[in-house]
């Protein structure tokens, strides 16, 4: 693996398998009386979150603590610090404090790349702008692997605002690396330019795609997208691209629904199905998220680079 985890494209199929295997073993730590191993004792992990995300931050924090690392939390709302000073000055400060790893979530695409230029520490991308969220993709793959024996030929549909979704980008990269068949479903306005070069199929018709899928990943649709005119109304979006009871029925029996959270009820997920889906989705996210992040921290901090 590379020194940093910035993009899902950084990971080979071997790397991904390694992460998922290690996560499976580390998942057992949670079941022990002493939910800790001493592996990263004396190391310091900093959660550098410029965007609110309690769930992801706590997940990383718990993962680091279960490996006996020390954790610093740095929350900086972008609006409260003047431009430029926030990231580089913060990087210099953290470098001086001697942290071993920085987990960064930032509203600007590419911020982790800039950070990596200014620090010696290992940098983990916990979500940058509308670009990537590689640890989310890994935890999504972990969840899929719990239910399906192989990624090879696994049919995964990613539905929703692909254009602005970092979860979508990272998942497309990781899934295609592992040999899955990905289909992107969205209105044309919410698909990126040249998306046909991404190695995934593209469709505007959710009903046509659904019955054949093993995994259906619903992306969150932010309300400001409607205000910006990407689709005429939330009602129209829900009608064409929302997951409701009828569409749930149309899915194969073995198929699963995933969602990176939090859900917009009545938009991408109809209220009547949200409850039943939400419980299992959240449970997966929380438990698997910690295991996958523990595995990542171990593999990134546990020693010099491994050539996969």
């Amino acid at each position: 693996m590379d020194k940093h985890l910035l993009s899902a494209a950084d990971l080979t199929a071997n790397d991904i398998t390694r992460v998922l295997d290690t996560a499976a073993h580390l998942a057992k730590v949670t079941d022990r009386a002493i939910k800790k191993v001493p592996t990263l004792r004396g190391r310091t992990v900093c959660n550098l979150f410029f965007e609110d995300s309690t769930r992801t931050r706590i997940s990383f924090e718990l993962a680091a603590k279960r490996l006996s690392a020390d954790v610093i939390n740095f929350s900086a709302k972008e609006s409260s610090v003047s431009k430029g000073e926030s990231l580089k000055d913060t990087a210099i400060t953290l470098e001086a404090m001697g942290v071993d790893a920085i987990v960064i979530r930032h509203g600007a695409s590419g911020a982790p790349w800039r950070l990596a230029e200014w620090v010696e520490a290992v940098v983990v991308n916990a979500g940058d702008g509308t670009h990537e969220h590689p640890t989310q993709a890994l935890l999504d793959l972990y969840t899929m692997r719990q239910r399906f024996p192989s990624f090879d030929g696994l049919k995964v549909a990613i539905v929703g605002d692909v254009l602005h979704s970092r979860v979508a980008r990272s998942n497309v990269l990781a899934l295609t690396t592992m040999g899955a068949e990905v289909t992107l479903v969205a209105p044309p306005t919410l698909l990126p330019a040249r998306v046909e070069t991404w190695g995934a199929a593209v469709s505007y018709d959710l009903d046509a795609v659904l019955p054949k899928q093993d995994v259906v990943m619903m992306l969150r649709v932010q309300l400001e997208r409607q205000r910006a005119g990407f689709f005429p109304s939330l009602r129209e979006y829900a009608r064409l691209y929302g997951l409701d009871a009828r569409r749930l029925d149309a899915m194969a029996d073995h198929a699963i629904v995933m969602h990176p959270g939090p859900m917009n009820r009545g938009v991408e997920i109809a209220a009547e199905v949200a409850d039943s889906i939400e419980r299992s989705v959240i449970a997966d996210q929380v438990a698997n998220g910690i295991s996958v992040r523990m595995a990542l921290l171990y593999l990134l901090l546990g020693g010099p680079e491994v050539v996969a």
Partner: protein, 184 residues
Amino acid sequence: MSGPQLVLDAADVGRALVRIAHEIVERNKGTDGLVVVGIHTRGVPLARRLAAKLGEIEGRQVPAGALDVAMYRDDIGMRPPQATHDTELPFDLAGRVVVLVDDVLYTGRTVRAALDALTDFGRPRAIQLAVLVDRGHRELPLRADYVGKNLPTAPDQAVRVQLAETDGSDGVVIEGPARKAVAS
């Protein structure tokens, strides 16, 4: 000639295990409250074999488990991260005598890690250590209670234990620069 040299064949390995099993029974006056835990990777099949042998000798089942010590190593950060394996300890450790099993005892650091790992799971009454091969060069004040074979070696040599479960056949092989290994 520094090619691999077979110092224990399959029959030797089998006999050593039988002897160790008897020593365990003798020292613990039976197998009451005994569990056998193998250290990944090759300690695990050895532990299972020992547990089976102990079961034969005393006529009652002895539980076996597996312990992964990757997370407890003292050289984290100095070498590439080691692969992890499953830890299975399907029993309560409290009040038990744990016989830790590994294939080769060398610097002692793996055993130290195993002791730490085990302690995180519970508090055994006692821990004893059984190894197929002791090759010397301890870096920590640890010793084995039961040894299949003492094998003095030079640090630039490698000792490889092969087991039917992992390698197809049983045997112990020494490899390394031109020195004759002196078998005691």
